[in-house]
Assembly symmetry: C2
Homo-oligomer: 421 residues x 2
């Protein structure tokens, strides 16, 4: 049997996206781990996460999908294709920050489910299978680092190290994986494998689309990041008895170093620079004792590798100027990721085909797509975040934008599913 | 029987101070609660504190003193006088900070004991009784506030409130008072009462005497203090997705406010000003989230009430400039205390009589003498702190200074004990 795969099937799939069904599914998932303030607290592989997964497994099976899992508790909901070819994937995560919102991650998964349902309603058959994935522990709130599921899918050797990581209660990630396996004994276990393309739909989590009044973002990549911890040391002394001229106040030094770093970060990076000093620890942290040590974190992000390299050099110079009193500990870094042009073009074409305004955008946050991009052609679609707010119970996106994003996703998934190679 | 009380008895008492006995007693007390790093950790009314008190009670009884306690577990070691007149008191405290040193408080108590022994050795009889006091919970580390013993001696109405205060383990101060009473059932319980004068000998806990190479400080008073908590609010947002121009970073605001306060504090207070921002709490304190709120403390001290008032006004102006984003919570204040000229003069005269160099000094730290000054003519003697270090296992004073301070204490205690009125 041969099929012709024309562009009308992508449009029909997009048209069959059902706004009420999509929004109802978002509401329903948000009840699992609902916070009194309207937010969601659903830790990775908690009983709440398992509940949520159980409901989605049942829904996928009702849609005629096969469901499988892997060694990192990722779930794969597969709609068969006409040919035995690597699938097109979409999806995201359903774990949340402790004070998380309803959309971060969940939106991408539920939009994927809406695409499965829309394709069924539209009677669209595709050349390739379509898979919706739930990636485990993207947030990194319960187990560090984040994105364990997607990163171990791409690089299975990472899993052994992840298994021994403990949460705040001392439970290992490995034990939660075993419990997940036991909770769903009938699921097939699969290995990683070839993927034709991965498209992740996500809220922007920033204000750029809203500020530009643009409903859809064609994400071209993810900016690079440097995370450092800086420790400034002084000498504890009595606040009442120690004259100012003989003090060695670690906070005075830390404030000076913070200011210097901020200045050169903005000079080097311009408008695209993001510099944040988010976490502070002061010792002994007593009202009447001069601080003896202050440790603070630096989060610098930029899409340009050359700027990141200049920042590294300037930071090294800055630390060297305070050789004995300021110490730098690099915590993490990731180079900028540029998504595959072929995948980006599919997202842009979907926006055009649907008559939706879009603009290119670089992701400021990490996503599972960061890892998938090493495995297969990958791109993302963003919808606006109201007020740019995320990781917050106030996280929100206008319904019309949630629907537009899902229609764009449906369109480009079908087009990708029908690619011969 | 009549006595003549000439100045030779004060000199004889000072000469009979025994350096080896004094230093041995300091070494012995430092073994109770000794830390591996050379410091001392002896929480107020802990089993260690009770052990230490038991040893001092036995020593006082061996010296022929009567020992009594009161409703706040203060201990009074009384050497009788020839006449039934209010006593002269000295003493300090033997509780320590968790990472405390060997001398803070303990030195003043043990120097008082050395004076009791020196008077006995010298065969000196005094007109008035001499009492050495151990004041309970001066540090305020286990139970807040500090100086519960001396403040309730001066104002017994405070005790009822203190009794319900709990330590970190949930034990009430009242329960520890009852346990103390049960530990020493044979001691008489006394009420407060008239005191002729109080002299407290203490390490400076600051660097001024050492910097000036002066062995003895004649303490003229205790500087005034203002404690405030300042809360700066912003908006939490994602470090990667939020452009700099739309951020409301609470730490950026807090650093600005800290700088403004420091500037006017030093302009108003000059060399005598002490401004410290010791305790900081950042929310949510996450490496990749812009701080939404920063709370920090202000400790401002000055000996001049006019400067303290000017500081209050400038602080109010500063807060008013950031009406919605910066909030001030006053935590504590105490006016400057000026000791009684009569008592200060006795200390100065003792230094002169002993040929010891001295200088006037204002105490930067609080002491039990702060409270006693409301009750009777009060003064203090300081000896140098090596490197100005205190509340620290490295706390140290040269032996020769420890002895000089004790000789000066013995001299002025005898002179005060022999005052007719």
């Amino acid at each position: 049997m041969t099929h012709s795969y024309d562009t009308t099937s992508a449009l029909r799939a997009a048209e069959h996206v059902d706004p009420a069904r999509l929004l109802d599914s978002i509401d329903a998932l948000a009840t699992i781990g609902a916070r009194a303030d309207g937010g969601v607290d659903r830790p990775a592989l908690s009983a709440l996460d398992i509940d949520a997964r159980r409901g989605l497994i049942e829904r996928a099976q009702a849609l005629g999908c096969t469901v499988s899992t892997d060694a990192c508790a990722n779930l794969f909901f597969r709609r068969p294709g006409n040919e035995d070819l690597p699938p097109v994937m979409t999806g995201s995560h359903i774990d949340t920050q402790p004070t998380g919102g309803r959309l971060d991650g969940a939106y991408g998964v539920l939009a994927g489910f809406e695409c499965l349902a829309a394709l069924a309603d539209a009677g669209v058959r595709t050349r390739r299978p379509l898979e919706v994935a739930i990636w485990t522990n993207e947030e990194g709130s319960r187990f560090q680092p984040g994105a364990m599921g997607s990163s171990s899918f791409v690089d299975p050797a990472r899993l052994a190290g992840y298994r021994s990581v403990r949460d705040a209660a001392g439970v290992t990630f490995g034990a939660t994986l075993d419990a997940h396996r036991a909770a769903f004994p009938s699921l097939d276990t699969r290995a990683s494998g070839a993927v034709h393309a991965f498209i992740e739909l996500h809220i922007e989590q920033g204000p750029l689309l809203e500020l530009a009044d643009t409903p859809l973002g064609v994400v071209t990549g993810i900016q690079g990041v440097r995370w450092h911890s800086i420790r400034c040391t002084g000498a504890a002394a009595h606040a009442g008895t120690t004259p100012m001229r003989v003090r060695r106040d670690a906070m005075t030094l830390a404030v000076h170093v913070r200011g210097a770093i901020e200045t050169f970060a903005l000079e080097l990076g311009g408008d695209a620079a993001r510099i944040t000093f988010g976490s502070w620890r002061v010792e002994p942290n007593s009202i009447n004792t001069i601080p003896s040590a202050v440790t603070f974190t630096v989060d610098f992000r930029h899409p340009d590798p050359a700027v990141l390299a200049s920042f590294d050099a300037a930071l090294a110079d800055c630390i060297a100027q305070h050789r004995t009193d300021v110490h730098l500990e690099p915590l993490f870094e990731h180079p900028p990721v540029h998504f595959a042009e072929s995948a980006i073009e599919r997202v842009r074409a979907a926006c055009v085909a649907l008559g939706a305004r879009s603009q290119p955008i670089v992701s400021g946050a990490f996503h599972d797509a960061l890892h998938l991009a090493k495995h297969c052609p990958t791109a993302m679609i963003f919808v606006p975040s109201r007020g740019g707010i995320s990781h917050n119970p106030l996280e929100a996106t206008d319904d019309v934008h949630l629907v537009s994003g899902t229609r764009a996703l449906a369109h480009c998934l079908v087009e990708l599913c029908n690619e011969a190679r």
